[in-house]
């Protein structure tokens, strides 16, 4: 998403990327990075928590407007409650199953080599 943000930004649209892995998002030269302490499946918060979702969206947009330097990163003050369930995919994704069958492919993935 950071790479897409760079394309949009170069085309004249200001962008912010709300990321649960802000280090990775920032590493590609993303114009504005917002860190969020929620799991990837629910970036704005739990289903049904309208107030929580609105708070994350509002803080994201307010922070984006305030950021004034290329490559800025702001971590938002939202943390997933320790006791709450972390949503996970119901079954392992195809790449995980492929690697279980042929474990040496994991090294390719680590190196970013696509077969």
């Amino acid at each position: 998403m950071g790479l897409v943000a760079r394309v949009l930004e170069a085309a004249g649209i200001a962008t912010a990327v709300l990321s649960f892995i802000p280090e990775l998002t920032a590493s590609v030269g993303t114009p504005r990075v917002l860190g969020i302490g929620y799991p990837g499946s629910v970036p704005f918060g739990a289903p049904g928590d309208a107030d929580g979702q609105r708070a994350v969206l509002r803080k994201s947009l307010e922070s984006a407007v305030e950021m004034d330097a290329p490559g800025s990163r702001v971590d938002l003050p939202f943390v997933w409650p320790g006791e709450a369930r972390v949503p996970k995919p119901p079954t392992p994704p195809p790449i995980a199953r492929a690697i279980m069958k042929r474990p040496w492919l994991y090294l390719k993935l680590l190196r970013g080599e696509l077969p």
Binding site: M1, L3, V4, R6, V7, L8, E9, A11, G12, I13, A14, T15, A16, V17, L18, S19, F20, I21, P22, E23, S27, T30, P31, G35, I36, G37, G40, S41, V42, P43, F44, G45, A46, P47, G48, D49, A50, Q53, R54, V56, L57, R58, L61, A64, P70, G71, D75, L76, P87, P89, P90, P93, P94, I95, A98, L109, L110, G112, L114, P115
Partner: protein
């Protein structure tokens, strides 16, 4: 407060993503479009990589990824401002689709954005919002085709700020 999102990932995924982060070449420059208006005058579009498609649209291609696990569908879907939870499905094999399918606003907060516009906090919600499917190991097509298409329609819709949300 510093966020370490890696703790949500399993050990194998964490190692892969850390390796990618370290290998990522630091770009010479970061593109920048200043936002010179207050938020109350800003037009906003949302972009989610949760693999959201309207039920009336073709789903993201999960069959292709099952055949070749190194491939992910690089296309995108336009999600209209009015779309509601019952209008969408989530097609993404790397996240839990159930929270977003039970409440779209947990991944693409279109209703929350409407509320902020109605309250005068945000200027406008764009007529078109977007979803991609985030598991793409080779971003060539995404950057060559999808990203410029999004840019062109956002310019048409007078979007000032795009909030991109990877999952």
């Amino acid at each position: 407060m510093a966020i370490d999102g890696y703790h949500f990932l399993d050990g194998a995924s964490r190692r892969v993503m850390r390796a990618w982060e370290e290998r990522e070449p630091t770009p010479d420059s970061v593109p920048w479009t200043p936002l010179s208006k207050p938020l109350s005058q800003v037009g906003v579009a949302l972009v989610s990589s949760a693999g959201i498609a309207l039920r009336s649209q073709p789903p993201f291609d999960q069959g292709g990824e099952r055949v070749n696990p190194w491939w992910g569908d690089p296309s995108h879907r336009v999600i209209p401002r009015e779309a509601a939870t019952q209008d969408i499905r989530i097609h993404h094999l790397h996240i839990d689709p159930r929270p977003g399918e039970s409440d779209l606003d947990s991944v693409l907060p279109l209703r929350r954005l409407d509320e902020l516009v109605d309250a005068g906090v945000v200027g406008r919600s764009a007529p078109r919002h977007y979803s991609m499917m985030g598991y793409i190991l080779d971003p060539t097509e995404l950057l060559r085709d999808t990203a410029p298409t999004l840019a062109a329609s956002m310019i048409q819709d007078e979007v000032d700020l795009a909030l991109l949300v990877p999952v």
